[in-house]
């Protein structure tokens, strides 16, 4: 009897030790997706495409710096090139776990820096199909996560994780994420509305290694109900480039240094 028990324990032990909980997977995925490196810079091209095929372009440089562990505080600095009516605008976000971010916008035409009131959960990022939360991440603790199954997506082994918001603070009732078992990046996400119908789909369209970090360099968010989609590509991306703390200040919002914005 004792022998069987030991055997049973031996069989169970590796599973106990190595199987990740759904929450662990999401935590590690967020770290791989949004917290890689000490800092990050990318030239971002966004294409907003209507159902009829009409396109609009948003082009910006995004800089990000981590303060603390993955899931912790981050600062973002953005400089806009396009469209013309927002050219030279800069935007700064201090993101905190567990509460709404602080945001500042610089309007060059009147040389003014102003705080912006916006909720992360229900604000579109520059009119795109991405919300602020899609861009900078949602608190893992805001959802209940469960592993639904494991299957292949884009030819890679994935965990399929269902995340249901604990509060009714977002438009969707739950989200399914296909998380690559190897690099933990989200390859696909499906958002289901309150009626349980699929209405928004995220896909990672291109993944490249940048300084050893697997990075999603092309992605799309498509709204199935409106037919509108947003395609995002990183033209240049880099990690650990030594972004100074001083960048995240009113001084540099008003006079963004070329070495960081170009």
């Amino acid at each position: 009897m004792k022998r069987y028990l030991v055997l049973l324990l031996l069989v169970l032990l590796p599973l106990e030790a190595f199987a990740l909980s759904a929450e662990d997977v999401m935590r590690k995925s967020q770290a791989a997706f949004l917290y890689q490196g000490k800092d990050f810079k990318a030239r971002v091209m966004m294409k907003l495409v209507t159902k009829g095929g009409q396109e609009r372009t948003r082009e910006l440089t995004m800089l990000r710096k981590n303060y603390g562990e993955a899931g912790g505080e981050q600062k973002f600095f953005m400089y806009f090139f396009q469209p013309a009516d927002v050219k030279d605008m800069t935007f700064m976000v201090n993101k905190y776990p567990g509460r709404d971010a602080d945001r500042w916008l610089y309007v060059p035409a009147i040389n003014m820096v102003r705080r912006i009131a916006a909720r992360d959960k229900s604000s579109s990022f520059v009119g795109s199909d991405f919300t602020y939360e899609d861009v900078s991440g949602r608190d893992i603790a805001d959802d209940t996560h469960s592993i639904v199954k494991e299957e292949k997506a884009s030819g890679r082994d994935c965990y399929v994780i269902k995340s249901a918001p604990k509060a009714a603070d977002v438009d969707y009732s739950y989200k399914l994420s296909w998380i690559d078992r190897a690099n933990l990046l989200p390859l696909k996400e499906e958002y289901y509305d309150r009626k349980g119908e699929l209405y928004r789909v995220f896909s990672a369209d291109e993944i490249k290694e940048v300084k050893g970090f697997p990075t999603i360099t092309k992605r799309t968010m498509k709204n199935l109900q409106s037919g509108h989609r947003t395609e995002v590509s990183y033209i240049k991306a880099d990690y650990n480039i030594g972004v100074e703390d001083a960048l995240f200040s009113e001084r540099y919002l008003k006079q963004p240094p070329k070495k960081w914005t170009e």
Partner: protein, 415 residues
């Protein structure tokens, strides 16, 4: 075209075409714009139907070669009201940037304070005619010709500004706007601006930093009121009025941070009327304490609401009452204003419906500004709106504008 502007235009062209030689980064952007505003309640005093009607081109030339940076923003316009075309240097400055300090010299726009169209510590010149005529918001601000130093030690940031050339506010032209005039019979008027002498140089200082999550600023200004006071040559039988700009100092503070699921703004300033310390001169404003409370919040997707309450509390009010000449409108001891701003973005933030209103609980007058703006493409936008004034007395800030209601259109192609 005046010689100075010829020079600017030539300089811009040279910089643009010879940037390779200078090995500098050069960019040229700008816009073409049509801007028209039509009366809807009454013709202008001079019989015209338009508050504004012009086509305009703007060129923004940016030349940078670190640590230097040069920026020129030049407008050329054709105004159909006067049938006049001209060139205007909106901004033109040079920057030098070091690690812990920088300097900007030339014509520059400076915006201080937290108010949304309410100004306490933003003591810099405004163009109210532009604002009431339905021109784009950036034309409310006028540049100053001066030098700004920025100092950035670890614990605080500082802006120090010296302005040797006085620039008054620009008020609506009497031929286009119906306005109250306390002495309409006296047409002999001369304007006397502070001359550009060392002792007339305006100084402004701002120190700012984060305190417990609140953006905190302290302000100091020593200069002049930008709204003229009237000085009659003879108090009993005046025949001539001198418009002059009394000396002013302002001491202020502002705080802005996240609170109540939104952004909370608090600002206050003491207006020290240095030529009328005791409040006994009825022609010069008494000293005032001004304060502002603002709250901004996003209520649902792409909809934000902004509320403000603002007050001006007059010092030495009893002196003011005592010395006010008969027949002159009497100001309130506490003048109050409340504003509401609502904005809803639609169609992926390409369409914006907005509404802004002033209402004065003390004067009971108001201004309403509804507007629709649509970005037709990434380069072209159009805005249509209205300015509606009324209520109060025939001399109060918005009440006197009651017959100037207008609808406006702005159409811009940007490159």
């Amino acid at each position: 075209m005046r010689p100075l502007f010829k020079l600017i235009v030539i300089l811009q062209a040279l910089l643009f075409f010879y940037s390779d030689v200078l090995a500098a980064d050069v960019s040229l952007h700008g816009f073409f714009q049509g801007n028209y505003s039509s009366d809807i309640s009454r013709k202008n005093p001079d019989g015209g139907d338009f508050k504004w009607a012009e086509e305009r081109m703007q060129f923004k030339l940016d030349v940078s070669k670190e640590p230097f940076h040069l920026f020129l923003k030049t407008d050329a316009f054709l105004n159909h009201i006067d049938g006049k075309g001209d060139v205007e240097l909106r901004e033109g400055y040079a920057d030098y940037t070091a690690k812990a300090w920088d300097v900007r010299a030339g014509r520059q726009v400076i915006t201080w304070g937290l108010g949304d169209l309410l100004f306490i510590n933003d003591v810099f010149p405004k163009d109210y005619e532009a604002f009431f005529s339905g021109r784009p918001m950036e034309y409310l601000k006028k540049g100053v010709d001066g030098v700004k130093f920025g100092l950035y030690p670890e614990f605080v940031s500082l802006e120090l500004i010296a302005i040797p050339f006085f620039e008054p506010n620009h008020f609506p032209a009497a031929k286009r706007f119906w306005m109250y005039d306390p002495m309409p019979g006296i047409t002999n008027r001369v304007e006397k601006e502070p001359t550009s002498r060392p002792e007339n140089t305006e100084f402004a200082l701002r120190a700012y930093r984060d305190i417990a999550g609140f953006d905190t600023s302290l302000y100091f200004y020593r200069g002049f009121y930008r709204q003229p006071s009237l000085l009659p040559d003879n108090p009993l039988m005046p025949t001539k009025l001198t418009l002059f700009y009394p000396k002013l100092s302002v001491y202020g503070i502002s705080l802005q941070g996240r609170a109540l699921d939104g952004v909370l703004s608090l600002e206050t300033g003491y207006y020290d009327s240095r030529e009328d310390g005791k409040g006994r001169d009825p022609m010069i404003p008494n000293s005032q304490a001004r304060f502002l409370i603002g709250y901004q919040r996003q209520l649902w997707e792409d909809f934000t609401m902004g509320l403000q309450y603002y007050g001006e509390y007059m010092q030495d009010y009893s002196e003011y009452e005592k010395d006010l000449p008969a027949g002159f409108p009497k100001e309130h001891k506490l003048r109050q204003l409340a504003t509401v701003r609502l904005a809803q973005f639609l169609i992926h933030q390409t369409l914006r419906l907005s509404f802004f209103s002033f209402y004065s609980p003390s004067d009971r007058d108001y201004m309403l500004n509804p507007e629709i703006k649509y970005n037709i493409s990434d380069r072209i936008w159009v805005a249509v709106g209205g300015n509606i004034f009324g209520g109060g007395e025939k001399w109060s800030q918005f009440g006197q504008l009651a017959e100037n209601d207008n609808v406006y259109m702005q159409l811009r192609y940007e490159f």
